[in-house]
Symmetry: C2
Subunit: 271 residues, 2 copies
């Protein structure tokens, strides 16, 4: 089972191991997963985040979307499309899912973890028709079903239109925080390129080549500023450009400004 690198090596690795599979990292560049590297593996499944790659934030380029589907068709492989933040796109309409392009090849995963709360533990799969029954059985064997009241409450929220209203309101809230982040970066650290901001709740800041990602994250923590280094999302700790993964989903505008000012100070202080 191939997966994106950087990505979620721990989660995918554990899931693969539990299923008796080997997890194989495949590099991601600015256009998404590297299809030549994928083709060089013997993977029969791949986990991807095409709409907004986690954590780099890039979108899978249109020609790669088609090539990925071709790869799956030729190899009789399954694409697992983790559409984890599909509801929150700032520049245009949400990117269409791969599942819509290749319904027999793609399992698309959705969740309310980002749109409502991870505490709800509710998600869904859109899958090839012949997988619906075995996946349902597997789910039943694993937990005998997701709590019913929570599912009914969510159904009511969706049917009543309040879920859509909530999404619209939260899109505006997150857009404001995103703007605050961009403004703070422009003010305090204009020299840092920032990418991955087209959707979701995180951005990638590209640090100066001599910055030490790990030390910066640790120093920020002592100031109560939570940062994540990109290297924690990579399978290899080989020398990679230092980058920060900056989340703004659950942070107010003032905290965003203060956090970025702290990053500026810490970068200025480096030896």
């Amino acid at each position: 089972m191939a997966f994106e690198d950087p990505g979620s090596p721990a989660a995918v690795g554990a899931a693969a191991a539990a299923a008796g599979l080997r997890a194989v990292p495949v590099p991601v560049d600015e256009h998404g997963i590297d299809l030549r590297a994928l083709a060089a593996t013997d993977a029969r499944a791949v986990v991807v985040t095409p709409a907004h790659q986690w954590p780099s934030g890039v979108a899978l380029a249109p020609e790669r979307r088609l090539a990925l589907i071709e790869w799956a068709a030729e190899r009789d492989a399954i694409i697992i499309e983790d559409d984890y933040d599909a509801e929150f796109r700032y520049d245009r309409e949400p990117v269409g899912s791969l599942q819509g392009l290749a319904p027999d090849q793609v399992i698309s995963l959705g969740t309310v973890s980002k749109s409502l709360a991870p505490a709800l533990r509710i998600g869904w799969m859109i899958c090839p028709p012949d997988l619906a029954e075995p996946l349902t059985e597997q789910k039943h064997r694993s937990d005998r079903g997701t709590p019913t009241l929570d599912q009914l409450a969510l159904a009511r929220l969706i049917e009543s239109g309040r879920f859509d209203r909530h999404l619209r309101r939260m899109r505006a809230t997150y857009a404001t925080r995103r703007t605050a982040l961009l403004a703070a970066l422009a003010e305090h650290a204009p020299e840092l390129p920032v990418t991955g901001l087209a959707a979701g709740f995180h951005a990638v800041a590209h640090l100066p080549a001599d910055a030490n990602e790990h030390n910066l994250v640790a120093a920020a923590r002592t100031r109560s500023v939570g940062l994540y280094g990109m290297s924690t999302c990579r399978t290899s700790r080989a020398a990679t450009p230092p980058q920060l993964v900056i989340g703004f989903g659950n942070v107010g505008e003032r905290a965003i400004r203060e956090g970025i000012a702290a990053v500026r100070d810490l970068l200025a202080d480096r030896p």
Copy 2:
């Protein structure tokens, strides 16, 4: 992994298979699981329902409780105690758990599926201290945790004393249904011995030797009377005495009376 026969062969078998284990049935008699038969297996774990055996309804005899713990200690085995209906005992205080007797040998499973609703999907484990961390990790890997709101709501229900009040009220409700079942059986089918009624929400009716359990259940279904044959809880379909597992937990008193009257008619009609 040994399990009780009759019991839940499908559920235990699937769980064992998912863990790469072999599930081995061990017979149950009127004092609970047969320890000589258990000792003859090479099991290193056993799943038991000592307080109110599912589905026979017998309690594990006190001397067997001790012998079971001895078996586990000698073999360095784990006892998984499924305490599925512990809260509902009619004749005396709830039977103490095996876990209390042998905290290093026993994993005790509790649930609100019977006391509140299966839809909540909330349960708990009381386990040997050295298993707490690996089991927590395994649970996290499998589902990243049970929905938080549901857990907080249950905690509030318990802390407020309302859960205890609910149990007291439901104990009285189930006791009334149990009495209705006994009265209906005494009126309509006094020749059928009934066992397993000390706790929980089901009883076992021992049919005449010439009754056909399967046909009776099927015929009752055509009259909208839901009965379960004991043979569906057994691993072997070898000739066993015909028995009915009669649930009364979610059935009103009138439906209980009508159901037992239907059983009487069907038994009278048999060739």
